[in-house]
């Protein structure tokens, strides 16, 4: 296969959600370099095509009547209403006493899953979609909890998506003030006296410095942390977590709770700072002294500044990006290069885009191709893109995808979904991968008939030609041995035309069930 076609294919699989005929053509026409420039600086919002698909999407919602709670039965195909709403609008789903069914309250999560899959399949801004996926894992929240679910549209739109290729400190600050994170890691209920440490701990361990910088053996000996006496501690200890938890007291949401003097907060779900919740006394965080009683939110903002610019954060984020985009065991040299770009551009509005450029232009991107396991959502998106198949996201399909182990916006642990092959290639995971591919091609979950005759690449007539053409489309290259294996097991002659559309679909399914399609 000539190199000119290989490069666009790899660009699609390594930096996007898989190769579609349209994107292959786009990259071929523009050249990789111009395509990448555009990918790194996409216009905000969806392109017209994707936007219209999201606007016309319908997702079924169904629940039984509950007369005791004045809830009537519902069973309808409903547009995606929550995605454009503000937090104060979606928050009202929680405030109906018992009169709102839980299915309505978690509905925003399901709507966001539909929009996310549609964007993955159709958006020309593939790299942004990959970054949105990455940051949702990095700043994981769990949307099966209704209070998180109603906050997801804002979280996705105004926090993750807005800053996905922007500045890390901006992103970190937006996450810290997001309703979704304040609820998920409990900072909204943290109060002076005995602060809730959940957010502070994961801020250090998962959002910024990383567990490699957790020097727990120094627990209470901050002076013993290398560099601490020069004001540049190489890592963090438990005391930093405790003190940072104090720094963020008062960062909460308008959830109708009572503040000092019997005043009640409104019920909007919006971020707010409540000074009477804040522990204002002096603190010491990462070897830095914080004076007592500083202006509102100054403690928290300074913690975010310290962790966002800590060298360990650059290494941790770079390591995770390289693991996501290159391979499970990140080459240290590349991580160092990427971390350096991240660090040098700490004040750039497009810090993350510049960091991603270092990854997108690294030779390792090509050298290590085929070593990353596609996770289930990526597998089905890549399948729809490769087939050029109009996949309708149904409630049944989301159920199957959730059951495959990848629960978009629903992973319970704050780590986000795992990102290594071992977690996604076990026996059960392999069964589910094959099931997902077969189910889409055979329309098991109402996702739409795969129009195999008209979508099969033109100029192909025999079984052998058809399998080879689909291999080229889905895997980027032909594999005569595997093609023969498929036809032999299907008892189909190489040189005859396909018997019927069912057999044709099976043939395509087997190509996508092969090892090559499980990886990128």
């Amino acid at each position: 296969m000539p190199a000119t076609t290989l490069a666009p294919f790899l660009a699609c699989t390594r930096l996007g959600f898989g190769a579609s005929p349209r994107d292959i053509e786009r990259i071929r026409a523009q050249g990789f370099s111009r395509w990448l420039d555009a990918q790194l600086a996409p216009p905000s919002g969806d392109d017209a095509d994707t936007a219209s698909r999201i606007a016309s999407a319908r997702l079924r919602i169904k629940y039984a009547a509950n007369p005791g709670q004045e809830i009537a039965a519902v069973d309808e195909a409903r547009p995606l209403h929550a995605l454009d709403q503000s937090i104060s609008e979606t928050w009202q789903l929680l405030d109906g006493g018992q009169k709102v069914a839980n299915q309505e309250r978690v509905r925003p999560r399901y709507e966001l899953v539909v929009a996310t899959l549609l964007r993955g399949m159709h958006s020309p801004w593939q790299l942004r979609e990959r970054m949105v996926e990455f940051w949702h894992d990095h700043f994981n929240v769990q949307g099966f909890d209704a209070q998180v679910a109603v906050a997801l549209p804002t979280y996705d739109r105004d926090v993750i998506r807005k800053h996905a290729l922007g500045n890390f400190r901006d992103l970190l600050g937006a996450v810290a003030q997001s309703t979704a994170m304040l609820v998920y890691l409990n900072n909204r209920s943290s109060r002076a006296g005995s602060a809730n440490e959940n957010y502070a701990r994961e801020l250090f361990e998962l959002h910024t410095l990383g567990r490699g910088a957790y020097l727990n053996a120094q627990y209470d000996k901050w002076r013993a942390v290398p560099g601490a006496l020069q004001g540049k501690p190489s890592g963090y200890i438990d005391q930093d977590v405790y003190e940072a938890a104090r720094a963020f007291t008062g960062w909460t949401i308008e959830d109708g709770g009572t503040v000092a003097n019997g005043r009640k907060l409104p019920k909007t779900g919006r971020f707010t700072y409540v000074d009477s919740f804040h522990d204002g006394y002096q603190k010491r965080i990462l070897a830095r002294e914080f004076d007592p009683f500083r202006p509102a939110m100054r403690d928290g903002e300074d913690v975010l500044d310290l962790v966002a610019t800590h060298p360990a954060t650059a290494n941790f984020v770079a390591g995770k990006l390289v693991r996501r985009f290159i391979e499970d065991t990140p080459p240290p040299g590349l991580v160092a290069r990427v971390a350096d770009v991240f660090r040098r551009n700490a004040n750039a509005h497009d810090q993350i885009a510049r960091t991603m450029r270092a990854i997108a232009t690294a030779p390792e991107l090509t050298e290590a191709a085929g070593r990353k396991a596609r996770r289930p959502a990526e597998l089905v998106i890549a399948l729809a893109r490769g087939l050029d198949h109009e996949l309708t996201v149904t409630d049944q399909f989301i159920g199957v995808l959730d059951g495959s182990g990848q629960r978009l916006f629903g992973w319970p642990a704050p780590t986000g979904h795992p990102d290594d092959a071992a977690s996604w290639l076990g026996t059960q995971a392999m069964r589910q991968r094959w099931q997902l591919v077969l189910g889409v091609l055979e329309n098991s979950w109402g996702t739409g008939e795969f129009d195999a005759p008209s979508l099969t690449p033109s100029g192909t007539h025999t079984n052998g030609e058809i399998v080879a053409a689909w291999q080229e489309r889905l895997l980027g290259a032909r594999d005569a041995g595997q093609a023969q294996a498929i036809l032999t097991a299907m008892k189909l002659p190489d040189d005859a035309p396909p018997q019927n559309v069912q057999r044709l679909r099976r043939m395509v399914a087997y190509v996508a069930m092969s090892p090559g399609f499980q990886m990128r």
């Binding site: 890691l185 409990n186 209920s189 943290s190 109060r191 002076a192 006296g193 005995s194 602060a195 809730n196 440490e197 959940n198 701990r201 361990e205 567990r211 957790y214 727990n216 053996a217 627990y219 209470d220 438990d238 977590v241 085929g370 070593r371 396991a373 495959s404 182990g405 319970p412 642990a413 780590t415 795992p418 092959a421 071992a422 996604w424 290639l425 076990g426 026996t427 059960q428 995971a429 392999m430 069964r431 094959w434 099931q435 077969l438 189910g439 595997q482 294996a485 498929i486 032999t488 097991a489 299907m490 099976r506 399914a509 087997y510 069930m513 092969s514 090892p515 090559g516 499980q518 990886m519």
Partner: protein
């Protein structure tokens, strides 16, 4: 009824079984004997607030540190369930843990309090990794190879591989079984465990996955394993797997993950597929906020699932040993979110026919200021590996025990097993 291989052959039809067999079945002829221990490792993920599960209900420091709905009470409508340990402290179980009290009174369940890592980590992920690998301390010597402690145990006991020697009920293989290449992930057997697409797909996939590479190796293992295990499931006339009927009227709550997981393990034990090691997860224990209601449910679901499991495996009780533990306990003093933050000392439960149960084991460090770890947390009085080591000691030599838990020295004998 303990089902023998020949019964299953009749049930599934030997032709179907033979058609489904791969290399794995060669080992099947030497299937392990019925007396071989099955070790079930249940991980309570998130850091179980063991002081809310098994509390010294009359301890003044305990009462001082927490609101009544965050501790086990010694009197009143919500009083805890008395363990009658005979000591000065009145240890009681959470009121929702009645099924655990029953197992304890039947002497099948032993509780080791104040277990944990010597390492001071208060990170979930560091602590879980250490425990699943059988290490003590993040900063000291580690065994060569990063495999799970159950993997090392399986290597030491040797023996035939069977169809499902090691399983995880999670989507991915638990780290305790890291490096165990034939470990299967079996979250559920309700809908069978076959290769999607039927016999033709199985044949295609066997060829497609014959080559080298990570995905190919995984897929090859999966095709062979799932087909062989699937063939062992009893099926109705319509070839669908028959619904599972637990023995002795055991009732699992299938709406809970832990109920489904333990019923799957029990079923595999009784299917006679050579199961020796099973890893089960129960999440949700990271109760930083709104703990009382959440903990009620957790205690209830855990206790009921363990009791159902125990009834269900009644015919195999002499060889089943379940160990449940958590990465750390939680802070003695509650926070202002009506929850508790990460602490240090935890607890470990052991359930089995060979367990010398009905006892609270291990030294109790107490909850007064000086006894607390860093002045705030329940101290670790028993290395968690003492429990694991005593659990597997009858199955391996002392030298092998050292290979499973490198550097481990028992400071005191708990007397976990009879």
């Amino acid at each position: 009824m303990h089902m023998k291989r020949r019964d299953l052959l009749k049930l599934t039809g030997s032709a179907a079984l033979l058609a489904a067999t791969g290399l794995r079945d060669l080992a099947f002829a030497n299937e392990p004997g019925a007396g071989d221990t099955v070790l079930v490792f249940l991980f309570l993920r998130g850091g179980c607030d063991v002081l809310n599960l098994i509390g010294p209900s009359n301890d003044a420091a305990y009462a001082e540190a927490r609101a009544p709905d965050l501790r086990v009470l010694d009197s009143g409508d919500h009083a805890g369930l008395q363990l009658l340990t005979g000591g000065r402290d009145d240890f009681r179980l959470h009121p929702e843990a009645a099924p655990l009290l029953e197992l304890y009174q039947q002497k099948h369940l032993a509780i080791v309090h104040a277990t944990g890592l010597a390492d001071e980590t208060r990170s979930h992920f560091v602590a879980q990794d250490l425990m699943e690998r059988g290490w003590l301390d993040n900063n000291k010597q580690r065994p060569s190879g990063a495999n799970g402690w159950m993997t090392r145990w399986l290597t030491e006991i040797g023996g035939a591989h069977g169809l499902a020697r090691a399983i995880s009920t999670t989507g991915a293989v638990a780290k305790s079984l890291e490096g165990q290449r034939d470990a299967l992930c079996v979250p559920n057997l309700k809908y069978g465990y076959g290769v999607p697409g039927g016999d033709e797909a199985r044949a295609v996939l066997s060829s497609l996955y014959a080559g080298p590479g990570l995905a190919a190796t995984s897929g090859r293992d999966a095709v062979a394993a799932v087909a062989a295990l699937d063939a062992r499931l009893p099926r109705g006339a319509d070839h669908r797997p028959l619904p599972y009927e637990p023995a002795h009227g055991a009732q699992y709550d299938e709406n809970t993950d832990i109920g489904t997981a333990l019923s799957t393990v029990a079923r595999l034990i009784k299917l006679d597929v050579g199961l020796r090691a099973a890893c089960v997860d129960m999440g949700g224990w990271d109760t930083h906020e709104g703990q009382p209601g959440r903990f009620n449910n957790l205690a209830k679901n855990l206790s009921r699932a363990l009791a159902a499991f125990w009834n269900d495996v009644a015919s195999e009780q002499n060889r089943v040993l379940l160990i449940a533990t958590t990465e750390f306990g939680r802070r003695l003093r509650s926070n202002k979110s009506n929850g508790t933050d990460h602490g240090h000392g935890g607890a470990t439960l052991a359930l089995g026919g060979c367990v010398d149960g009905g006892r609270l084991l291990g030294p109790w460090p107490g909850l007064h200021g000086d006894a607390l770890d860093r002045g705030v947390d329940l101290a670790v009085a028993t290395d968690y590996r003492s429990v694991l080591a005593e659990a597997v000691a009858p199955t391996v030599s002392p030298a092998a025990l050292q290979r499973i838990f490198p550097g481990f020295r028992a400071e005191q004998r708990l007397g976990l097993l009879r």
